[in-house]
Amino acid sequence: MSAVVSPIRKPLITGNKTYHQITEDLISPTEKTPTKEWVLGFVLSVAVLTFGVFCIIWTIWVGIGSWNLNRTINWSWDITNFVWWIGIGHAGTLISAILLLFRQKWRTGVNRAAEAMTIFAVMCASLFPLIHMGRIWLAPFILPYPNTRGPVWPNFNSPLLWDVFAISTYLTVSLLFWYTGLVPDFATVRDRAKGFRKKIYNTLSFGWTGSAKHWQRWESLSLVLAGLSTPLVLSVHTIVSFDFATSVIPGWHTTIFPPYFVAGAIFSGFAMVLTLMIITRKLLHLEDYITIEHIESMNKVILLTGTIVGVAYLTELFISWYSGYVYEQFAFFNRALGPYWWSYFGMMFCNVVAPQFFWKKSWRRNITLTFFLSIVVNIGMWFERFVIIATTLARDYLPSSWSLYSPTWVEIGIYVGTFGLFFTCYLIFARVAPVVAVAEIKHILKTGGNQYVGENAKRAHHHGDHESDHH
């Protein structure tokens, strides 16, 4: 990892930082009393989460009949939300694993938060397959374990079972990866802490001492986990897409789904990372660590994946026409022109048209536009899943069974509740752990080699002046 020192390379961290400053900047948020914004956000999140929990209890108590699903549309918001959250949960591992393997050093600025986001998103996602069951209390039936019922094993042909394995593996590996990264940082927190707090962080850091052996093992483990996670990034959403692709329903039964879903997942995941990063860097004053360069890089990924998704949409349309099969043709006709035309339109606009703004460099580097478009992309990706799931089911083979769907307050409540869960977790995370990987970012401090001289130094000073003007 010997960095090439070159004045040509742009620095990855701005602001003329020293190692100590980095520690100060990144660890101090865990040490201060929470800000007003944090408290407000936390109260709000917990309130929303509480309502979500109430809606889930209501669902389990009353039955799935408290949702507006029907004999034709047996999945809608539940699985839409599931796929959406799983998609969002893709960026973290991609950033930490694939970008690690590709030696994309800028990733260290955002990987910690992105990984945390992944874990929380996967938590939100895995809620839905559980609560959408008619009899959640029998959920253990889905697990393959020796039992006294024969034994009866789960159906290994079912994509839903593959989901169970895919998601649980993904969650486990992501969690391990995230925690591995946190160990040296927890040690740093511990070293600065006193009393009981010190004890807690000592436990959390597994007694990390920072010895060379520790670092060597830590690096090896990171690489192993990165190697393990890399195929997972591709497999999880591939398997989620099998829920649809292996079915017999026109509009679901397509071979394009795995790459299309993975691209879409990265697309939405990066958008969500951007949304969160832009807020976090502002609130925690991390502009020097999460820089415009980061935003621009991620916008490039969004532009690429958004365009891949767009190509996939057009391919789908072409193939449906080219198939010469009426049901297939009708499925896409119905998506675009049927009763849910607005969701198809929303999907096309948000996912394909909106990211095209990022062809222009200055727009890629515009924080306001990026923030706005990152939200637009996530709305678009939600629409995409709704189009695939509800619109497709609403009108399939037999016209007699066509139906329509709109959610009940319970379904909306559960969806909103997952935001509560997500932000509650994220806010706690931002309080107890450094949101930027301290140990890792220190590696790249001197990558550019010109932090102390030249333009960057000037700009940093300028930036500093600017900051001090405010205070």
Binding site: G63, R71, R135, L138, P154, W341, F345
Partner: protein, 1054 residues
């Protein structure tokens, strides 16, 4: 061991500190532990542990057991009745009768409970067919609203009383001047005898008979022409051209089970190269069940029915009343029909539901002129299924108004609701001093009576029926009366002090019935030497036929009164009887209330059928721009009401229609206040009610119904209309599916709704050609399926049984008997209006109804749709827990206990036949709080122990959160296999019949074994019209359909 310091001692030796005792106490564990260790060295537990475990185990078991649903009542027989073997069903022949509705049936009883109605194949009238009404009648036995015993009115409240009190109370009232017995059609000779005895004793008695939907004019016309006041026997199978003026003979008119079976015979296509079938031409304004099965529909306004008949009369007989006022299109079409009829002398049939005597006389004259008497209709064997007399009813109402009636006995009738005089009768009935009702459940009339002396439900009764001249059938009880009821005839006989019956016997009416049969029917036969032999045989068969046909000659009669005058009003409303509720007689039955109307596919309300037309571009435009579920205000005569709307294809422009039978106020929890009562909107004609009204206004949309309970949102499969830009005929259906065109002007793409491999249709002219094209399509699909990467499935089921089904779409008339039979057989829950409106209906078997052809006057196809038991089932491989899987006999099975409710199977079912228990419909949850009610009843429907008596013990009741679906009546398959095994033989073709199959009046459904090469199923599959819905997706469905063939004459459309 330590010496005790407290004062606790065990025994006297302990108290005195006996050393020997203390040493044994000390050594107790030591000595034991050494021996124990030897014996069970691997166990570390001791006595205390054992007790702990025992305690824990008991406690855990108690807690676990406490969580389970306790078995409440399971009482073994002390003395087992001979004929009852637990787990084995007994069948008793009986007859379903309700007024003029008749069906010869077998009642399936389990452990002494009637649980299912089957058709009686021995009956020459119904021939083993049933109707939805007959199927559902078993539920009315267990109606929680049944009157539990004799009651008298005490002020505004009902008070229980005893039969002795009642009988004592009746004595003085019987000597009064004006006694009336009012009833619907009564087909029972023995009941009539009992009434006759009563009338003989009290000569001031008059018997008033009416029908809720009157056929009085038809009877009167036959009285004038033939001297027989009855309905002729129609033979729809022998007619090659059938013209029906508004007679819904396949759904509701007189004897639909019989007519549907005959009609289907005339529609069968045995050889596609020489295909021929009868042609049905329906003249009507509202799409009735019969109209939907018709080849051609001639649209006339309700008030034009008279002139339409007159026009045909003039064309065929001549010299009739003027047909002025008939719309030109209909006039032309009827002229063409007339020439076709004339060419089919003796093999045509004209029927009418008109309630105008002159019009019915014209119909008789037309049939006579065509030489149809003796061939397609037969008055020598008249049917007694309608006996009502409108004149008598009118006179009765006048008598009530004038106060000349002192005692009213209401016997199986509800005149306050189901007559056109309902309102005035309700207002004036209080003038009658004594009003006695024999009702089994409370109704509008009984509520206004003073005394209710409940009669038995027919499944608890003895009785007989003379459905046609010489065609008798018996009613026998299949359960002892559930409540303190007494047969109405027994009451009458008791009150008139009959000497012909022994009132002290255990079942007086049974003795009376037997005596009557001994004296009448027994004498007319020579098959049996003893009466007992004759009786046992008749009771066993349920029927007894006597050849007593006598030829009757036609004598022409002058047209006695005017015919219906065409109205000039802008809009007319017609009223129609529904298959499921009749004129409200069945409104209290939840199965029938929830049964979707076969044509409109709506339930739990009467929806105003409004015409709909294609705008030539994008939309199906309803009358007044109304769309499904809009609420309008409608003014009929003086009555104003708000009703929801359904766009009805085939509804004549300028007319709207509303169903009878709704808006009852006293019909128990299910039937009360559902929809609007339109009986008081019916035109009171000169000599009887006419089911339409011309004084009607319909507002625009005033509201939107919250619960639009319609089970089918998309009604058409490729209807064609004219594009108003190009003038070309386009697929109107497809164009109307465009909701938004992104400003491209897209009008849909052609084909996706006509080429769906779900329904195949053909005109009878083109059937050979279409059969050929179907063959190519099927070959193509099978070729595609052969390309699969997985091994075939066919050899998998080559041994043993491989169950399959064949459904003949040409035979299916859509009556819905099978759907109710399925609910009854398989314990399918009723979910209520709200749940139906959310598309949560639970029906395992539904009948999809599609319109095709001309958008303005379409043809219809009915497709019974249930689980197709695919041999490559998409539902099975997606279930994560293997809850749905395939049997070795090709059945797609559900293991309810295993189901966790992911609903993936339901999504992946191409036929959308899987049903999810969204809520606790069957009340099987541990807690009662989430049990949905049908209509806010205190004990939810299906939670009530009385209602639950109807459940089939062979079929699991499903709990909330699991998927269910058609099982091909696996319990019947199992029963058939076991019977064969016990009898030491192999299973024969026809041993196993599904509930839908046995219910069907037209034998449209055939269940069987694909591996039985000689079986009926395989015979049916040989037809080149056979197809599999969605064959090309390789799910390998086990249900085969046949192409729907119509005999539409395009010339009539011009």
């Amino acid at each position: 061991m330590k010496h005790k310091t407290d004062n606790i001692w065990i025994g006297q030796k302990d108290l005195v500190q006996d050393q020997e005792f203390l040493s044994t106490v000390d050594s107790e564990f030591n000595s034991d532990s050494s021996t124990l260790a030897d014996a069970t060295s691997s166990l570390s537990g001791n006595r205390r542990d054992f007790l702990k475990f025992l305690g824990f185990g008991l406690g855990a078991a108690t807690i676990a057991a406490g969580c389970d649903i306790p078995v409440k009542k399971a009482i073994p027989y002390v003395i087992k009745p001979d004929e009852i073997v637990p787990g084995i069903a007994n069948y008793y022949a009986s007859s379903f009768v309700n007024g003029g509705d008749y069906c010869s049936i077998l009642v399936k009883t389990r452990e002494g409970r009637p649980i299912k109605i089957e058709g009686n194949a021995l009956s020459p009238v119904t021939k083993g067919g049933t109707s939805a009404r007959a199927q559902a009648s078993v539920l009315s036995l267990y109606d929680t609203n049944r009157i539990k015993g004799p009651q008298v009115k005490d002020g505004a409240r009902w008070k229980d009383t005893t039969w002795q009190e009642i009988d004592k109370m009746m004595v003085p009232t019987l000597s009064s001047n004006g006694i009336r017995i009012i009833s619907h059609t009564n087909m029972s000779p023995t009941s009539k005898k009992a009434i006759a005895e009563f009338v003989a004793k009290y000569p001031n008695t008059k018997v008033v008979t009416y029908d809720p939907v009157s056929a009085s004019a038809l009877l009167d016309a036959n009285q004038l022409n033939f001297g027989v006041r009855a309905v002729p026997s129609y033979h729809f199978d022998k007619a090659s051209v059938i013209v029906s003026f508004n007679a819904d003979f396949l759904g509701t008119w007189i004897s639909p089970i019989e007519y549907a079976a005959d009609f289907a015979k005339g529609r069968a296509i045995n050889d596609v190269t020489k295909a021929s079938m009868s042609r049905l031409i329906q003249v009507e304004n509202h799409m009735s069940l019969t109209g939907s099965n018709a080849d051609n529909r001639i649209l006339v306004r309700p008030s034009e029915q008279g002139v339409a008949i007159a026009h045909l009369y003039n064309e065929i007989v001549g010299g009739g009343p003027s047909s002025d006022g008939l719309n030109d299109k209909a006039k032309k079409a009827i002229s063409k029909v007339a020439s076709e009829l004339k060419s089919k002398q003796g093999s045509s049939l004209v029927v009418s539901a008109s309630n105008n005597v002159s019009e019915q006389l014209m119909i008789n004259a037309i049939n006579n002129a065509l030489g149809n008497y003796g061939t397609t209709l037969d008055i020598s064997m008249p049917s007694y299924q309608r006996q009502g007399n409108d004149t008598d009813l009118k006179a009765f109402v006048d008598d009530v108004k004038s106060g000349s009636v002192d005692l009213l006995l209401v016997y199986g009738a509800n005149p306050v609701y189901d007559t056109v005089y309902g309102k005035e009768l309700g207002d004036t009935i209080s003038k009658i001093k004594n009003k006695v009702s024999f009702a089994t459940v409370m109704d509008e009339t009984s509520a206004l009576c003073d005394v209710i002396v409940p009669t038995h439900h027919y499944l608890e009764s003895w009785g007989d029926v003379e459905v046609k001249k010489g065609q008798y059938s018996l009613i026998q009880p299949t359960i002892s009366p559930l409540f303190n009821s007494r047969q109405a005839e027994e009451s009458l006989l008791k009150w008139c002090g009959s000497s012909t019956v022994d009132m002290m016997s255990e079942q007086p009416y049974y003795e009376y019935l037997k005596d009557n049969w001994k004296n009448t029917m027994f004498g007319g036969q020579n098959g049996y030497a003893t009466f007992q032999g004759f009786w046992d045989s008749a009771l066993h068969d349920g029927i007894y036929s006597q050849n007593s046909a006598s030829s009757v000659a036609y004598t022409s009669a002058p047209l006695s009164g005017g015919i219906t005058k065409p109205s000039k009003s802008e809009i007319e409303i017609s009223f129609f009887e529904t298959v499921h509720l009749a004129n409200g007689q069945y409104a209290g039955n939840p199965w029938l209330m929830e049964m979707p109307d076969p044509v409109a596919r709506t339930s739990w309300d009467n929806y105003l059928a409004v015409p709909v037309s294609f705008d030539g571009f994008r939309n199906m435009v309803g009358f007044n721009d109304l769309v499904d579920g809009d609420v309008v205000e409608i003014q009929v005569g003086e009555k104003s009401m708000k009703v929801p709307v359904i766009q009805q294809f085939g509804q004549m422009p300028g007319t709207v229609s509303l169903a009878l039978g709704y808006g009852r106020t006293e019909a128990g929890n299910t039937g009360s206040n559902v929809g609007q009562n339109v009986n008081d909107c019916i035109t009171k004609g000169e000599n009887g009610p006419q089911l339409y009204n011309t004084a009607v206004t319909v507002s625009g949309k005033v509201d939107k119904t919250k619960e639009f309970a319609c089970v089918q949102y998309h009604h058409t499969i490729g209807v064609k209309g004219v594009d108003n830009k190009t003038g070309e005929v386009i697929n109107a259906d497809e164009a109307a599916l465009v909701y938004f065109d992104y400003f491209t002007g897209a009008t849909g793409f052609q084909g996706a709704l006509t080429d769906r491999s779900v329904i195949y249709t053909s005109n009878v002219k083109d059937v050979a050609e279409n059969a050929e094209s179907l063959k190519h399509k099927r070959e193509h699909a099978q070729h595609l399926n052969a390309q699969q990467i997985y091994g075939g499935f066919d050899d998998k089921y080559a041994l043993g049984h491989h169950w399959g089904m064949h459904i003949d779409l040409n035979a299916c008339v859509g009556c819905g008997a099978c759907t109710i039979a399925c609910m009854s057989e398989n314990n399918v829950p009723v979910v209520g209006r709200k749940e139906v409106s959310r598309h949560h209906e639970m029906t395992w078997l539904r009948i999809d109804r599609y319109y095709y052809g001309d958008v303005n006057n379409p043809n219809t196809v009915y497709q019974p749709m249930m689980c197709q038991h695919c041999d490559n089932a998409p539902c099975e491989n997606v279930c994560p827990v293997n809850a749905t899987n395939h049997s070795a006999e090709g059945l797609n099975q559900m293991a309810y206990n295993r189901c966790i409710g992911t609903r993936y199977c339901a999504n992946n079912c191409p036929y959308k036949v899987r049903r999810f228990n969204w809520l606790d419909y069957t009340k099987a949850d541990l807690w009662p709080i989430n049990q949905p009610t049908l209509r806010n009843e205190s004990t939810p429907f299906m939670a009530d122990n009385l209602t639950r008596m109807v459940l089939n013990p062979d079929v699991t009741v499903r709990s909330r959160g699991v998927i269910e679906k058609c099982s091909f009546c696996v319990q019947r398959i199992q029963e058939g296999k076991l019977t064969a095994k016990i009898e030491g033989r192999s299973l024969l073709d026809g041993d196993v019949k599904t509930a839908c199959q046995t219910a069907c009046p037209t034998n449209a459904i055939t269940f069987g074994d694909f591996n039985d090469h000689e079986g009926t199923l395989n015979k049916k599959l040989e037809s080149p019209l056979t197809y599999i819905a969605l064959e090309e997706i390789n799910v390998r469905s086990s249900v085969n359909y046949t192409m729907k063939v119509n005999n539409r004459d395009e010339a009539l459309d011009a």
